[in-house]
């Protein structure tokens, strides 16, 4: 017997998540320009709508109306395929991120996430592995030296930092003992020494630093945006792309940033957890219980998740407009000679601490 209502609820959740993801991408393009403007003592785009809020709409119309140039010498099939190979995985990766406690509705348990896979975080890694091909193939198919170099840089950067990122996450998996992001978020609500929430940042401080650095490299953001270093490579892998195809690369990058921020929040900052908030309300150790309705708890948790993700998105922009870019040999050195040994050390130390029953 197929439970159609449950299917309907999850279909609704996935539509809402997709819509929120796309509109966050739109707002983020505006936020990037406004925040960079404020950091450089400018105003930024503020003409379209109140505070420039309609600027993304204007940009979108512009992208669609522009002439779509396909250069003569490109490999047409792969050239057209590449932007799609970037944006589709970027949109898919968010599916396993949980944004709230399980809800109990008339005997049904509803996870507040699109899909609660058994493999959880491995799904995100697999999807991220797919996403890199759009950039590599786009760089190659453009038949342009700058694009090709951008694609190659992207490939080597991805391989170097994926290892460090996975090794950093292994520390988290050891502590919380599950691949499901929902379980990981759930366990971070448990208390350490009776009063400290057991968030990932407290249990895995070194792992957090390795993870956040690798994630910045994986999303090709400053200080690791070598694949599109405009001073050396014109536009990098998307030099030859125009109109909506360029927009797909652009949106893919922002969607990846959102997933990365959600991942940082979920793995290291408790995900949707608010300290001391359980599904019946706030439970303060030694102080008593403060009851809340289920829907109110869910609302607070979604809000808490949104605030955390918003902060890390701001951090992405903040770092972009504060730090200069790495040189390429510095970047590979940092990945292979610093982050990977540190990540291995982190695993050993975590294992030792777990044997001593400290974490």
């Amino acid at each position: 017997m197929v439970d159609y209502i449950t299917i309907l609820i999850y279909a609704l959740i996935s539509i809402v998540v997709f819509a929120v993801l796309l509109s966050t991408v739109a707002v983020l393009t505006l936020a990037e320009r406004r925040i960079s403007a404020f950091m450089q003592d400018r105003l930024g785009p503020n003409r379209v709508g109140p505070w420039g809020l309609l600027q993304p709409v204007a940009d979108g119309i512009k992208f669609i109306m522009k002439e779509d140039v396909i250069p003569l010498e490109v490999n047409r099939f792969l050239y057209i395929l590449a932007p799609l190979m970037t944006i589709i995985p970027a949109m898919l990766a968010f599916a396993v991120v949980p944004f709230g406690h399980d809800l109990f509705l008339r005997g049904r348990v509803i996870n507040l996430q699109v899909a609660n896979f058994d493999i959880g975080i491995l799904y995100i890694f697999a999807i991220a592995a797919m996403g890199i091909f759009g950039i590599i193939i786009g760089g190659w198919a453009s038949n342009n030296k700058y694009s090709l170099l951008g694609g190659l840089r992207s490939a080597s950067q991805f391989i170097s930092y994926e290892i460090a990122m996975s090794l950093a996450v292994i520390g988290i998996l050891m502590v919380y003992g599950s691949l499901r992001l929902n379980d990981i978020a759930q366990y971070q609500g448990s208390l350490w020494f009776g009063f400290i929430p057991k968030w990932g940042i407290l249990v895995q401080p070194l792992g957090f630093i390795i993870f956040i650095v690798s994630v910045y490299a994986e999303t090709n953001r400053v200080p690791f945006d070598l694949p599109e270093a405009e001073a050396e490579l014109v536009g990098g892998y998307h030099t030859e792309y125009s109109s909506m195809k360029f927009a797909f690369f652009f949106m893919g990058e922002y969607a990846n940033m959102i997933t990365a921020s959600a991942l940082i929040a979920t793995l290291y900052f408790g995900g949707w957890q608010v300290p001391y908030l359980h599904n019946i309300g706030f439970i303060f150790p030694k102080l008593g219980i403060f009851h809340l309705q289920q829907w109110l708890v869910a609302l607070i948790e979604i809000l808490s998740f949104a605030i955390k993700v918003g902060f890390f998105l701001f951090l992405f922009l903040w770092i972009r407009w504060t730090l200069p870019r790495f040189r390429f040999d510095q970047l590979t050195d940092l990945g292979w000679k610093v982050l990977i040994p540190l990540a291995l050390l982190n695993i050993v130390v975590t294992g030792a601490l777990m044997m001593l029953r400290i974490i």
Binding site: L78, D118, L122, A126, A129, M130, I159
Partner: protein
């Protein structure tokens, strides 16, 4: 029923993409076709109820190997026919060690250490928990031996690179 249909569709496409990977004129098309074939393999794993293997298949083969392949293909202009390949002889010691380890694994397989444990076909046997449990419980020695083979491979590769520098 629907699983069977999906299995046959995926299998046919898998074979077609692998054949295309061999026959394609351009090495880039070969590599991409192989990537698609890896996805169909992962899909077969999902149909068999082994999502962990499917994820690992995509992460390792697509995320690491195929990226490296494309990297190499794009670095060298392989559109010219490849005639001059591998002028050096493999370092004998490393290849002997690898062969010895492979033989050792084969020996253990024939001894029945690698035989399937009871309850192999129960639901959820391909889940991450089960794979990890079995690897660490029943297959620890072969698992460690395999990782040792990889380590030897890494050392061999580093050795080849260092030779070229005259050290």
């Amino acid at each position: 029923m629907i699983t069977n249909v999906l299995f046959y569709i995926a299998s046919v496409l898998l074979v077609i993409t692998y054949i295309y990977a061999v026959l394609a004129g351009s090495p880039v098309y070969s590599a991409i076709s192989m990537g698609v074939a890896f996805f169909f393999t992962a899909f077969l794993f999902i149909l068999l109820g082994a999502p962990f293997l499917a994820a690992v298949q995509v992460i390792i083969y697509v995320g690491a190997m195929l990226v490296l392949f494309l990297f190499i293909i794009m670095m060298f202009d392989l559109n010219k026919p490849a005639t001059a390949v591998l002028k050096y002889k493999p370092s004998t010691i490393f290849s002997y060690i690898i062969v010895a380890l492979i033989l050792l694994i084969g020996f253990y397989m024939s001894r029945g250490v690698l035989k399937m444990p009871e309850g192999f076909t129960v639901a959820g046997f391909g889940s991450a928990e089960n794979v990890g449990f079995n690897l660490m419980r029943y297959y620890l020695l072969p698992f460690e031996l395999a990782s040792f083979v990889l380590l030897v491979g890494v050392l061999g590769a580093i050795n080849f690179i260092r030779k070229g520098r005259g050290t």
